[in-house]
Symmetry: C2
Subunit: 165 residues, 2 copies
DNA sequence: CTAATCGCGGATAACACCTATCCGCGTTCA
DNA sequence: TGAACGCGGATAGGTGTTATCCGCGATTAG
């Protein structure tokens, strides 16, 4: 699916799907099945279902089983941040994982010096905090307004019509 | 090497090695061979060599071939940020990669609306910018001072003695 | 000059994670 | 009852990370 060489810190592609689904759900009146969400975005239904289950386990969406089931946002769109979605899909593990190599080799750091994280780890964690703070400041409701600005004020009207089909 | 399950946005472990090597190099008088750097940190010599080559290609370190060769920092430690090292090892690709799913499905976004990145992509890129700004504000020299605070003022004296062995 | 040391780049393999699909199960409702 | 739906496990292919090994060219001690 990805043609170019890629490297480095990378984010799962499912995050993009999940965020878009949340924006759609914020405009829906009732439960929207995964089938419908996948159709709307032109993506794999079975794989999207996996991501939606992650959102469900994280408590961001509430699932309704049975005949006319589907997904509904648990909280108002203004109370769900992009960070919530990213953490639900990607997990809560920090990107930087310290392997404590300062304790290896001929001059290992003393146990006293290792009581707290070293400067390297502190710098990495501070950067991740800045990243999370930035994502935490944007809500699904904010993204919905952005769509209206970019695509016109009647976009969600068409969306609701299609969902009701 | 990693026993626990991990998920999500992740950073290559080689970044930690590379940053530590830069701190060591900032305290060395002459070229330090990869063999020595690997010994000091108790890590794989052959694999570390790969990362050092990345640093060399990025221009952060200058390599000397031959009998008494090794690596030297190209710039002063105060002019090399942690971000420089991370980008050299991990590459410059952004973590979030947009697949433009808004152009799919029964209600695709109009070409006019796609002239610029949508709100989702903008939020992701803003968060990455905050992450990079945070990492760019910390230099190798700063980390060296942190080591002195944590491990005592004679730490680098011992280091230089061992390097001279 | 010779040999030892060193950096460089390619080839290779094991492993983990991402992507994607399929199936069976339980639930709900027409 | 049957159709639609969510849930979880099993599975498979692709990609990136981790790690090692080899040959090559460069440099220097002896
Ligand atoms: S010095 Fe910092 S990054 Fe390095 S091993 Fe220790 S805690 Fe981890
Ligand atoms: S809406 Fe944004 S994140 Fe989604 S496909 Fe379009 S540009 Fe990418």
């Amino acid at each position: 699916m990805y043609s170019r060489r890629m490297a480095g810190v990378k984010m799962s592609g499912g995050v993009e799907w999940a965020v878009h689904c949340c924006v759609v759900l914020s405009q829906a009146d009732g439960p929207v099945p995964a089938q419908r969400l996948a159709e709307f975005h032109g993506i794999s239904r079975t794989y999207l279902a996996k991501h939606l289950q992650h959102l469900s386990r994280a408590g961001l969406v509430t699932s309704t089983e049975g005949r006319i089931g589907g997904y509904v946002l648990t909280r108002p769109a203004g109370e769900i941040s992009v960070l919530d979605v990213v953490l639900a899909i990607e997990g809560r593990e920090p990107a930087f994982r310290c392997t404590e190599i300062r304790q290896n080799g001929p001059l290992p750091a003393s146990p006293a010096a290792c009581r707290r994280a070293c400067g390297v780890a502190r710098a990495m964690h501070a950067a991740e905090r800045a990243w999370r703070d930035s994502l935490g400041a944007v809500t699904i409701a904010d993204l919905g307004e952005g769509v209206l600005e970019d695509a016109g004020p009647d976009t969600f009207v068409h969306l609701r019509e299609w969902l009701g089909t």
